[in-house]
Structures are given as structure tokens and as C-alpha cells.
């Protein structure tokens, strides 16, 4: 099962480090990562394999949002199906 982690907000040091540390601690494997910085705006999208994670996806998604609050960014973790459904025919 794969999920998409999206991190957006004002660019600052250590965002990738903090997010990937959290994900690896949970047992998620990062398969793909793309990042753009537009002016001060930072956007990172990760595709992660969450098959090995014990907790439910909705629980981890909440924890991601919490982590986002702590580091002053907006973080979403969503099942990849939602994007496949909405953006392909």
C-alpha cells in the first residue's frame, strides 16, 4: 500500500530531515521524492510504501499533521488511490 506525503509551507532548514526521520521511525519506505522551492514557498511530495507500518493510515495521517504543526509546515499523508481516482480517467 502506498501513500503520498505532501509538505508545504515557508521554506526553512531541515524540513526533509525531520519528515523523513519521522517516516523511517514509523517503518515507511520512501520510494520517490520531489521538491520545489518557489520564492519562499516550499513544496515536497513523497511517495511512500506503508505496507510495513503497524498503525492505521488514518492514525499516521493525524500524526503527520501534528508533526507539521510542530515544525510550522502543512503535512498531509493520503492514500494514493485518491489521486489516481481524481486525476486519471
Amino acid at each position: 500500500m502506498r501513500a503520498v506525503v505532501t509538505v508545504t509551507g515557508k521554506d526553512k532548514k531541515g524540513i526533509i530531515a525531520k519528515v523523513s526521520a519521522f517516516l523511517s521511525e514509523k517503518g515507511a519506505n520512501i520510494e520517490d521524492i520531489s521538491q520545489t522551492v518557489l520564492g519562499e514557498y516550499f513544496a515536497m511530495i513523497m511517495i511512500v510504501d506503508i505496507s510495513a507500518i503497524q498503525e492505521e493510515l488514518s492514525t499516521i495521517a493525524k500524526e503527520c499533521a501534528e508533526l507539521g504543526k510542530q515544525i510550522g509546515m502543512s503535512i498531509y499523508m493520503q492514500h494514493e488511490d485518491i489521486f489516481n481516482a481524481m486525476h486519471s480517467v
Binding site: 505532501t6 493510515l57 498531509y76 493520503q78 485518491i82 489516481n84 481524481m86 486525476h87 486519471s88 480517467v89
Partner: protein, 451 residues
């Protein structure tokens, strides 16, 4: 495979444009609950609803967490209670109260199906049942009622139309301390559908499977935001963009509906494509019409803009879902749409214009507050007009109107939450009582004879 742009677009839809799944509604057949006594039947009904829907709230919350899309309402619809209580219609309120209790146990906000289908004629047990509606809605919190008074196939049952004018008034009067909220939980339909997930008109038709999950999507804000990006486009392009946007919104609904029905051990029913507004800023159907180029909703051109919107939403949505149904149209409830509230306050939108708008969109005169001293026959006449539009045009129309006790034009009613607030709108003062008191049936139109 999706791109980064797609991901960011979805997130922006949720964060800034109020994209949500408006409701997951579980339809439950109550036919197996019928017993000899009302007391026993009510107990069976309570037990069955609580058992079938016990996981609806948790499942919706899980799905919402996994997909990152809010699921606003979790609801239940049941077999029309008039059928369940046919043997003891005067005791139907026992079943109504059992249903209300089960809604509270489940933690859902509304449960629909305190309903009667009398489109051709009113049976004795239905007459007694309909008379119980005001008292039941006044003594329950989460129960919704509906009555189907006509259809394209059967014509309009004018006895029922007359009765419903009185019932609307009674519902409002019995809840006068709360601005007449009882009437806000009651809908009268022409061409009611059996798989509608939206309240207050949801009920579970007898032609449906045992347990069904129907999903209502939403996203007026998403459509409006998309249109803001093409301020000078012609209407062909506008329709195309609405179609594409409706496709994306509906796909989210389809995914949730399929997954929810699997987890809830129910049949996947339909996705309802309706654009349903909320009183929140930026979640308004009226503001889409204004974005299309009408200064204030209600102005000339509103009906045309709404026709385009409603059709484009359907075309995009049909492609996105394997089963489409319910009401599937743009909703124009006055009290639940900030753009409509503002237009009504300015006097820009009137009952007459709203009636014209219902010719091209579902669902009808919805959440409209009128003076409390409006005669019952006038309310019946409003319902008769609306039913005629539905009957002749082969579409669902409805009336959910609140004759707010002790209020007059210039006052306001406020129900809070999703039901919103509404200024009292004027009605025509001329007398329609002779027409209503004639009774009988309006015969079905000639084009209904298709066999």
C-alpha cells in the same frame, strides 16, 4: 500516474475550496421489522438500525483520514415508516421516536424516512400517518420526514397537497420556540427518488437492496475557484471547465462510496452528483452563478446560468461514477447558501425567481422562510405549482418551506449549523384556497403514457 501538480491541486481543493464528501448515507430496509404490535416493531427497528449502521461513523472517519478528504455527514435512511406502521398508523410516532433514539445512539446528525408515498391517492393508514408528522418532528431532534404528493406517471394527489399545507404550518407552530424548525425537517416531493442520500428527503425505497450505501458529493467552492481562473472565457469553455471539475469531485465520491460500502458490508448504491452548498463563505452555488456573470443571484440570466451549471455537473459526474442517482442537480436552498441569503436580504431573489430556477435544476423551493401568517392553502398552492413543474418536466421537485411563527417580512429565522439562517421572504397575498379546496387529482400528463 498523477503528477505533483495533481497532488497540490487536490490539497488546495480541500484546504481552500471546501471540497468534501457531503454525506455517506446508509439505506436500511425495515420491512423485516414489522410485527403485530407497534411496541414490538419499534424495538425491532431500533435494534436493526443500531446493528446495521453501528460502524458508519467510525468508517467515515477512517476513510476521511486515509484519503484526506472531509466527510461531513453520516446519515441513515429507512423504508417509509407509513408502510411499516400500516397496521397501527396512529402509533407510528413510537417508531419515529425509536428511529430518533437510534440516530442518537449511532452519533449521526439526521435519519430520514418518516415518510409516506401518496402520489396517486391517500390510503386511510397514510392519512392517519401524515397527521402524526408535526407532533413527531416536534418531539424528536434528528428524524426527518417526507411525503411524495405526485409523479409524472400518476399526476398530482391534490388531497395530499392540501393536507401538506396544513402539516407545514402545524410543524412550524409546534416548534415556534425554535423559529419553526420542525418544518425544516419536512419535505414534500413530486417524483421523489428512492436512493436520495440528502436530508431531509432521504428514504430507502422498497425496490432497493437490504442495506445500501449512497454517497453525496459536494464542491461548489471548487467549481467557483475553477471559474475564477477563466474570467473572460465564453460559455462553451465555462461548461467544459465545470464538467472537468465535476468529474474530479465525483471521482472522489465514487472512491469513498465503493470503499465505504465494502467496509460497511452493504451494497454500493449510487453517487449523487448534487452541488450542495453550506452557509460557509466560499461554499455557495449562488456565488458560482455570480462568478458566471450575474451581479446578484436572482437577476435576469440566473435561470440560464443555473441550467448550464446543472447540466455540466451531470455530464462530468456521469462519466466519473459507475452508478449515478439520487437527486443529482444543483441545490438552491436559501438558508444554507451565503450567496442566496445575501440576495434574499437585498430583495434580489424572490419566490417567483426561485420557482423559475427549479425548472432547470433540482430540487425545488428549499429552506425558504415565509411569514407565519401565510394561509395553509397558499402553502399548498406553492406546493401545487412546484409539483406541476416536476410532473410536466419528468424531474424531482420539492418544497421545504418554513412558515415562521410570529415572523413577518423583514425578520429573520436562524436554525444554526448546516440549516443556516434565512430572511423571511414575501409570498403573494392573493387567495388560492378555491383551487386547493377543489381536491381531486391533477391527471398525469399525456407524455407519461409511454407503454
Amino acid at each position: 500516474m498523477f503528477t505533483s501538480k495533481d497532488v497540490l491541486e487536490t490539497i488546495a481543493m480541500v484546504e481552500k475550496e471546501h471540497l468534501d464528501i457531503r454525506t455517506i448515507t446508509m439505506g436500511i430496509s425495515l420491512l423485516s421489522c414489522i410485527r403485530d404490535s407497534a411496541e414490538e416493531t419499534a424495538q425491532r427497528v431500533y435494534d436493526l438500525v443500531c446493528k446495521k449502521a453501528e460502524n458508519i461513523v467510525k468508517t467515515a472517519e477512517d476513510l476521511s483520514g486515509e484519503y484526506g478528504i472531509p466527510i461531513v455527514n453520516k446519515r441513515v435512511s429507512v423504508t417509509p415508516v407509513s408502510l411499516i406502521s400500516a397496521h397501527f398508523p396512529e402509533k407510528a410516532p413510537l417508531i419515529g421516536r425509536a428511529l430518533d433514539k437510534s440516530a442518537k445512539t449511532l452519533g449521526i446528525d439526521f435519519l430520514g424516512g418518516y415518510s409516506a408515498l401518496v402520489q396517486k391517492a391517500t390510503a386511510d393508514y397514510e392519512r392517519i400517518f401524515i397527521r402524526t408528522i408535526p407532533e413527531v418532528l416536534a418531539t424528536t431532534d434528528r428524524l426527518c420526514a417526507s411525503v411524495n404528493v405526485g409523479s409524472s406517471k400518476t399526476g398530482i394527489n391534490m388531497e395530499a397537497v392540501k393536507m401538506m399545507g396544513e402539516i407545514f404550518k402545524e410543524c412550524a407552530e409546534l416548534t415556534a420556540d425554535k423559529d419553526g424548525i420542525g418544518a425544516a425537517k419536512l419535505v414534500a416531493f413530486c417524483n421523489a427518488v428512492e436512493d436520495n442520500p440528502f436530508m431531509a428527503g432521504a428514504f430507502h425505497g422498497v425496490g432497493e437492496a437490504d442495506t445500501v450505501v449512497n454517497v453525496g458529493v459536494s464542491g461548489p467552492g471548487v467549481v467557483k475557484h475553477a471559474l475564477e481562473q477563466i474570467p473572460n472565457a465564453d460559455l462553451t469553455e465555462v461548461a467544459e471547465l465545470i464538467k472537468r471539475t465535476a468529474f474530479k469531485i465525483t471521482r472522489a465520491g465514487q472512491l469513498v462510496a465503493k470503499e465505504a460500502s465494502k467496509r460497511l458490508n452493504a451494497t454500493f448504491g449510487i453517487v449523487d452528483l448534487s452541488l450542495a452548498p453550506t452557509p460557509a463563505m466560499g461554499d455557495s452555488v449562488a456565488q458560482i452563478l455570480e462568478e458566471m456573470g450575474i451581479e446578484t443571484v436572482g437577476g435576469h440570466g440566473t435561470t440560464c446560468a443555473l441550467a448550464l451549471l446543472n447540466d455540466a455537473v451531470k455530464k462530468g459526474g456521469v462519466m466519473a461514477s459507475s452508478r449515478v442517482g439520487g437527486l443529482s442537480g444543483a441545490f438552491i436552498p436559501v438558508s444554507e447558501d451565503i450567496g442566496m441569503i445575501k440576495a434574499a436580504e437585498k430583495g434580489a431573489i424572490t419566490l417567483d425567481k426561485l420557482e423559475a430556477m427549479t425548472c432547470v435544476c433540482s430540487v425545488g423551493l428549499d429552506m425558504i422562510a415565509i411569514p407565519g401568517d401565510t394561509p395553509a392553502t397558499t402553502i399548498s398552492a406553492i406546493l401545487a405549482d412546484e409539483s406541476a413543474i416536476g410532473m410536466i418536466n419528468n424531474k424531482t421537485t420539492a418544497v421545504r418551506i418554513i412558515p415562521a411563527p410570529n415572523k413577518k417580512v423583514g425578520d429573520e429565522v436562524s436554525f444554526g449549523g448546516l440549516l443556516g439562517r434565512a430572511p423571511i421572504m414575501p409570498v403573494h397575498s392573493c387567495d388560492s384556497s378555491k383551487l386547493i379546496n377543489r381536491g381531486g387529482n391533477v391527471p398525469a400528463p399525456i407524455h407519461s403514457f409511454k407503454n
